[in-house]
Amino acid sequence: MKKLILSVLLCFALGCGNNSQSETDDELGVQTVENAVIYESQQAKQNWILSTTQAKFHENSENAVLINPQLSFKEGDDTLSIIKGDEGTISMEQGLIVLKGNVFGKSISQNAELRTTLLNYDINERKIWTERKVEIKRNGVTVTGQGLRANGDFSEIEIKNQTTTLPEHE
């Protein structure tokens, strides 16, 4: 059974620092956690790992606001890709991670780089998607598009309204 280890890890996974809810945080009802790590584990293998320099949990919301989130996709011990953003959110109920701002992804398995301004990851469906402009660079080839969808292990990627520019003759 897919085990989603969440809050327990928030404080202890990285021996994160003080759970400074009151002294440093003047927002009422907001619990701020430094260096949080959230991951999904299946048969003791992590499919994805979300680390963030800061996670803010609002009392009456099951969403967490993430600062400098980094989402890594794993296959066994291999890291398939890493996607970073300036900020983001995670909703356990919806099973949705959203990365925003300067979203930059590097796919080690595909030797590709992705840039966009917003990227969604559906934890349950293991689907990545955005309707935003995307730019992908791979082996000297630049692809721009408006919208992208991919499955969790990047074995299938769709780029919409794409323009691919092949490198010039050397």
């Binding site: 990047f154 794409q162 691919t164 490198p167």
Partner: protein, 236 residues
Amino acid sequence: QEIPAELLGGMLKSDSWVIKRDLQQEIFTGNVRFDSGMYKLNADKVISNRKNNTVSIIGNAYLFNRLKTGETIELFSDKILFNTKNRKGSASKVQNPVNIIYQMPEEYKLDILSNYAHIDGIKSTINLKEDVKIKYTTPASFILGYADSAFIDRANRNAVFEGSVEFDNTEYTLYAGKVSYEGSKNEITIERNYPLILAANEDITGALQSDFIKINTLTKKVHARGRVSGWVAPSN
């Protein structure tokens, strides 16, 4: 995967591009356009399958290639299948005939229609099947040709037309079962179905029928054998 030199600098557009890594397949769908100056491609859908080195170009498929000589080759088809390794391909009619156009500006234009074309990109040969129609035009003249099948070897300037073969231009009409052209010898060989040539120009009108006819296109010499018959008369 290495990008072929002739495609470098090109731009490829489509409404959707799906990459299936495990199947080594890439599917471009909707307004697929490619242009690298030397090559152009338009289609509704293109499927690249690296496992078996094939590219399927489906729906309003158009290929354009400009050779270094300045000659251009255009291929219009409903469906094209091309092997990127052995450079062989086939174009087939679904609704519209296959149309291949060779052109050297101010020199000649060879416009070919057929239901099926098999192309060998390395040997520069084409095998045409079913309802073959050709139109060869130069600034000074034209020839219309019809056949059931044809084989064109551009590299060696050879061509063979078979089946119900007919050739027409302003002066001649030819009916035969097989017509072969050997560019290196400047010879046309006409045989099968008791070939018949009808001629009409300002000087003469006439006809020649014979089992076997050979014409030298340079010397204009005609050699006929087997049941040779015919007539010639001044035009006026």
